[in-house]
Subunit: 237 residues, 2 copies
């Protein structure tokens, strides 16, 4: 890249990073909102969250367009190219977290007051969502600082989210077995728990992307995996 | 594009289309395999499906790399650029379908023989998976022929998958309420049904991508949506 192209590329990159930051802030609000709906059942807030998902989709498209134009115009290589591809991947993960918050909001607005208070399940789901929110904030910070160590830390901590999910999963099954009247509510909560666990997986994906952007290689070693609910009592394979 | 670049671009595009085709074939096999495990509980086949997901991930990365290099080298615009961006999006949707088949295989291998035959639930799940497989094959064909009408047809038919999912969802809840011993099995089947329904959504996404590639605009009108399970008795919003 000549000096002119390098300067223009830096400006493009700043623009893309700015859009990622804006998108992350929107998604963080969506997680906070959805976790509030879990506890309150607030249908007005739920509908706001559902509507705001369109903004996240639009931001992802904008990032994609800007990234593609930048690749074509500046023909970046090595770390510069990884910056752009990384932004594409991060926007994709953020959009998927957005979809999941929307689904949590939809299911949470259905939970009737009678069940919402039962056994503190929704409070524990909210706690899990807050943990995931912290993970997302930390990984976006690691993206902004191109901080590999902080990214690896987020990657490792996903096990805590998985552990919470496993324990909630088993607990919800117990409530369903105890009383058939709990089944519909607990089924929605099972899906909410799974959705929140998957938000954590996407934060972990972003951590892997930050590592790749900076280092140019994949994160070494197996992804730590503590979610065994889809494998019942079998060890993860 | 000059004549030389145009020829080189055509070769790049052919390469990318070929990789998409190969990836789609792999994913189609994965769906067939997972739907067999649902009915048979075959753990050997299940483990093969789980292992093969790595191949799908590798193919997606290959397509991504090739697409990015092509954008940088050939600087395509208009329909040529949409071809490349479209391939990126399709590879992403195929990879997500792959993840979902893997999850279905994991859950299906847990279903004990006692429950597998119950009420024909697994057969109906298999039927739903076959419907989705047909949708995927049709949309990949529409991609190969750049056939917008065929793509729109797939997009419309997703309602059938959603309708099957809704009916299975309600049925599974009933079995859970009838007998607490069904709960663990039915919970896994609820997630399998949801996963298969989401595979259908990704086929629909691919239909939208084919439309965008050819026409350069988004598919007009609301996406037909018949899945109301996450909204309980509320109308879809």
């Amino acid at each position: 890249m000549d000096e002119h192209t390098a300067k223009a590329f830096d400006a493009d990159l700043k623009d893309i990073s700015g859009k990622i930051k804006a998108m992350a802030e929107l998604i963080e609000q969506q997680i906070t909102g959805a976790s509030e709906v879990l506890v309150s059942g607030d249908t007005v807030l739920a509908r706001q969250i559902i509507a705001a998902d369109m903004q996240a989709d639009a931001l992802q498209r904008e990032i994609e367009e800007k990234a593609v134009i930048t690749i074509a115009r500046r023909q970046p290589v090595a770390v510069d190219l990884r910056e752009i591809v990384g932004a594409l991947r991060i926007a994709n993960d953020l959009e998927r977290i957005g979809d999941l918050t929307q689904n949590v909001a939809k299911r949470a607005m259905l939970s009737t007051e009678e069940f919402r208070g039962t056994n503190g399940v929704t409070l524990r789901l909210q706690h899990m969502a807050q943990l995931v929110l912290g993970q997302l904030q930390a990984v976006i910070e690691s993206y902004e600082g191109r901080d590999v160590e902080a990214a690896v830390e987020v990657w490792r901590k996903d096990q805590e989210v998985d552990a919470l999910h496993n324990s909630l999963f088993r607990e919800l099954l117990t409530y369903m077995m105890e009383n058939a009247r709990n089944i519909t509510f607990c089924t929605h909560m099972l899906f909410c728990a799974k959705n929140i666990e998957r938000m954590g997986d996407h934060a972990t994906n972003i951590a892997e992307t930050v590592y790749y952007m900076v280092k140019g290689t994949s994160l070494p070693g197996e992804r730590p995996k503590a979610d065994v609910t889809s494998l019942g009592t079998l060890p993860p394979i």
